[in-house]
Symmetry: C2
Subunit: 158 residues, 2 copies
Amino acid sequence: MDPPESDEGLDFPLVELFFFAYRDFIADADDALEQYGFGRAHHRVLHFVNRRPGMVVAELLEILRITKQSLGPVLRQLIDSGHLVQIAGPEDRRQRLLYPTQKGRNLSIELTHMQTRRIKGAIELLKNKDRESIADFLFGMIEPEERDLVKGLMDKQR
Amino acid sequence: MDPPESDEGLDFPLVELFFFAYRDFIADADDALEQYGFGRAHHRVLHFVNRRPGMVVAELLEILRITKQSLGPVLRQLIDSGHLVQIAGPEDRRQRLLYPTQKGRNLSIELTHMQTRRIKGAIELLKNKDRESIADFLFGMIEPEERDLVKGLMDKQR
DNA sequence: AAAATATGTCAACCGTCCTGACCTAAATTT
DNA sequence: AAATTTAGGTCAGGACGGTTGACATATTTT
């Protein structure tokens, strides 16, 4: 007979709220993406390239924590559809600098409007409407070793 | 030429923080799950059955928003491995009431400890350590039409 | 008795990943 | 200059976690 583990101190409701919240958050863009034959992987790639134009493939792989093989088809599709362009690096011609086109920027912005609407709506429900606390909480949810990378992502906006 | 969409009012940092936070949150359990040959789908099933012992299959499908075909193999594996049991309903013998075994409860609790640790750690970083605001925010992130279902999930704990 | 329902299964397919291997062009090191 | 390393690309096979449609059985409801 397995001795029971103690469930003392567990925050089941918060765990579940996080699951449900994220599910709805990411689902926002699905219909829009589908119009282009895209999925969530495309959304992520487009988002981060738009946020950091000129980034190289390796940076994208690091941010997204995926392999180049996973990235390959998605990136190809975004380029072929005219949402992204890639340019050989001026200093290192092996690199591929990634940029959104206007079309790509527009799509990324459109999708982010949906997500922001949801987030802001949720913040409006708070008594103190404290966006900073939410940002701090979410930042605190990130693995400590990864916080610098994430912070760098946000600070070094180009 | 596509006219530029306005990116005014977009909260890129919060969008990204949410993505990174959730990624780390769900990754916590991966190694533990893998020991049993399980994945995230198993975790979800186990979690909700543990939270609502005696639930029927249809309820689980509704909560998880997946099809019975998706659920089938996962549920089978959890039953075969001794983490869940299913019992024909006393009032409606077509139904299958799902219960965790002690083994299943223990695993669910173990995994939830990991997730709670992360959540509480993040809340500790807040100046006001306000768990309720976080819960309210996450609740507000959920689609309004789904809030009653989620609330019911949390209130009617058995 | 007929119709509806809860669940289970088969089958084919999809999106999003992974691993291993191999290749070319370019940069760096020897 | 040659050897080695590196950035990115491709091929291939497979896993995870889903979807849709169809069909079946046992049970409940009409």
